[in-house]
């Protein structure tokens, strides 16, 4: 699809370096040529495009911000732009990259020992080893501190029991990063376990019946007396800080990603509105349609600036605070979802089929609204930062 010049009304391009633009455009070309032609088929069949993984790995997409171990060592801005383009294709592909990079490779890089880094990171960067991140449980989503999955020390091993739910890539993962409480401890005792495919007692089962993120695998993981060797425990972190720091990384990328979906919906709807005629003229010529398009563009410009500023803060200061991340995730996913819905309406009946992208993005964004911290949870994080008062639970 040719990109509409109007989408970059504020010349946000000028705020990017030549390399950042080249990186974005390379991934954009990849998506246009390799993914958009087949995305409908994958979404319809509920399959993930594994055929694209080697090419994405060759390009250096996985673990792109990490240094060494075969990783690209790119900035947070470059990484965000990559995710924006992946999501313009489909959230399923972008989710794969987020999970592999921010939720799996990042904690191994940050909290693993040298042996673990050598064992996993080069293979994961090459797309030969796939990771998944197990935090959410059937009864604990927004409050992961309540988790009931536990590991008990037994000689040189840990014995893991419990289950994880809604785990992206679960059924195709070679290694699952499973967060569990240890011995009799509470949330402060949480540790990360590298559970490998084939370990006795570990099963991953695909979750069926999804209307959202259909071109992505989502699983339930069960652990029954899984014996995990001590060398598979991440030594560098204890407590909720471990998983939450990974999520902080991933959520930053989601601010960009949501704008990718929004741009796909906006540009598609604009093109459609210019061609579709009712009452003898293009629907783009009616004020009501123009208002829809104007609202979309306005939110895209704002959202892209937010995401860019957030990633620049991360690049300049080495980190960003959870509330900085919350504001961007909360805003961008919400407006992207609204844009997808309004775009859907511009397509009329055509908009409800998978022949056109908006309903697919709309359905996907319902997941994005809920995962990586629900919209409401981000409201509470901001609320606490603003007032100093904690409105989570008691």
């Amino acid at each position: 699809m040719s990109r509409a010049a109007i989408t970059d009304l504020y010349r946000i391009d000028d705020l990017l370096s030549e390399e950042e633009r080249a990186i974005r455009d390379t991934v954009a070309r990849f998506i246009d040529k390799e993914y958009l032609p087949i995305v409908g088929k994958h979404f319809r069949n509920g399959t993930f495009p594994m055929e694209l993984v080697p090419q994405l790995a060759d390009m250096g997409v996985f673990g792109a911000t990490l240094k060494g171990y075969g990783c690209a060592g790119l900035s947070n801005v470059a990484y965000g732009l990559i995710l924006q383009e992946l999501e313009r294709g489909d959230s399923g592909l972008r989710s794969f990259a987020s999970v592999q990079s921010s939720l799996c490779m990042f904690p191994i890089h940050a909290y693993g020992n040298e042996e673990q880094k050598q064992r996993f990171l080069p293979g994961m960067a090459a797309g030969k080893l796939i990771g998944c991140f197990g935090l959410t449980e059937p009864d604990y989503g927004s409050d992961p501190g309540g988790m009931v999955t536990r590991a008990r020390k037994s000689g040189d091993e840990w014995v893991l029991n419990g289950s994880k739910m809604w785990i992206t890539n679960g059924t195709i993962a070679d290694v699952a990063i499973v967060w569990a409480k240890v011995d009799g401890g509470g949330a402060e005792s949480i540790k990360g376990f590298l559970v490998e495919k084939g370990m006795p007692g570990y099963v991953a089962k695909e979750i069926h019946g999804k209307f959202s993120l259909r071109a992505s695998f989502t699983a339930e993981l069960a652990f029954q007396d899984v014996r995990v060797p001590a060398k598979n425990v991440l030594p560098g972190v204890t407590g909720l800080k471990g998983p939450l720091s990974c999520l902080n990384k991933a959520r930053m990328g989601i601010g960009f990603a949501a704008m990718g979906a929004a741009v796909a919906c906006f540009e598609g709807a604009r093109e459609y509105a210019l061609e579709r005629k009712t009452f003898g003229k293009p629907i783009a010529g009616f004020q009501l349609t123009q208002e829809k398009l104007a609202d979309m563009l306005q939110e895209i410009v704002k959202g892209q600036l937010l995401a860019l500023r957030l990633a620049r803060l991360a690049d300049e200061h080495g980190k960003v605070s959870p509330e900085q991340v919350s504001l961007c995730k909360r805003n961008n996913v919400k407006v992207a979802l609204e844009i997808a819905r309004v775009a859907r309406s511009i397509y009329g009946a055509n908009g409800i089929t998978d022949e056109y992208p908006p309903v697919r993005h709309m359905l996907n964004l319902e997941s994005v609204y809920t995962y990586e911290g629900t919209h409401e949870v981000h409201t509470l994080i901001l609320g606490k930062a603003i007032t100093g008062l904690n409105a989570f639970g008691n």
Binding site: S2, E19, A22, I23, F30, D58, M59, G60, G73, A78
Partner: protein
């Protein structure tokens, strides 16, 4: 036998841009256009990278034009070319001028092989490779293609289609000719020009894009090279293709068949 290969990277309008003829009727409206590397040149870069991956050596990429061509040179460097030569020229230039500059760069760089696009997708002149070979006195293998499809295993393994002899002194090139393939062999040095089916260019790796920034771009000028770039060939008229007529909707299959038969005479 390590090979030194010289490739080109012409800056052309992106084929996805909407092209409009300008008011004078001899050029196009430049506003809002996007540019990219000539796809035939990109195929040349890819082939050169595959050859040096197999045999060792280096790839030098050349472009003639304004500072904007740095974007195309960086594209080739990001794909993996080792260094770039920019022949800085701001005014109009024709194929004779470009080939003249390339000849001088070749005499300076002394490559074993030059791979150029068989044409550029902007003006489709298809002259530069031939001039270059002629003036260098080298053999030329135009329209290089291959037998395997772009979906083949050989293509996936990034196998070069241009074959280098065991002694490193000659190449074999499969050429696309009307309705078939013609295999030719030529001693090195030589010039080859690329056909679309020669290969599927790689996506630049993202670290490659970052590394391209620090790879050298040497600046030369036609005057410095002693090349007269006075334009001999000028465009006198540019006309868009005739506009397509709007389609029509037919109520049913019978009408469609009738119209195909009697109006379009397609059946």
């Amino acid at each position: 036998m390590p090979l030194k290969i010289l490739v080109t990277a012409k800056r052309v309008e992106d084929s996805e841009s909407k092209i409009k003829v300008d008011a004078a009727g001899t050029g196009i409206v430049k506003e809002g256009l996007k540019y990219k590397i000539n796809p035939f040149d990109e195929i040349g870069v890819e082939e050169a990278l595959r050859l040096v991956a197999k045999h060792g050596g280096e790839v030098v990429v050349v472009s003639v034009g304004t500072k904007d061509v740095h974007e195309q040179l960086r594209h080739a460097l990001a794909m993996g070319a080792n260094k770039a030569v920019w022949v800085h020229h701001d005014g109009p230039i024709d194929q004779l001028g470009i080939a003249g500059c390339l000849q001088k760069v070749v005499e300076k760089e002394k490559p074993d092989l030059c791979i150029l696009g068989k044409q550029a997708i902007d003006d489709d002149q298809g002259q530069v490779g031939q001039y270059l070979a002629e003036w260098l006195g080298w053999a030329q293998a135009t329209f290089a293609s291959k037998e395997e499809s772009l979906e083949s295993e050989a293509e996936k393994a990034k196998t070069p289609a241009i074959q280098l002899a065991a002694d490193g002194k000659s190449i074999t090139v499969i050429r696309e000719v009307d309705g078939g393939l013609l295999t030719v062999s030529s001693p090195l040095p030589a010039v080859a020009t690329t056909e679309l089916r020669l290969n599927q260019p790689r996506y630049a790796s993202l670290p490659g894009i970052m590394k391209a920034k620090s790879k050298p771009i040497e600046e030369l000028t036609p005057a410095g090279l002693g090349v007269d770039v006075g334009v001999k060939l000028t465009v006198t008229k540019l006309a868009p293709p005739p506009a397509r007529k709007a389609g029509i909707k037919v109520p049913d299959v019978a009408t469609l068949v009738d119209k195909l038969k009697n109006e379009a005479k397609a059946l």
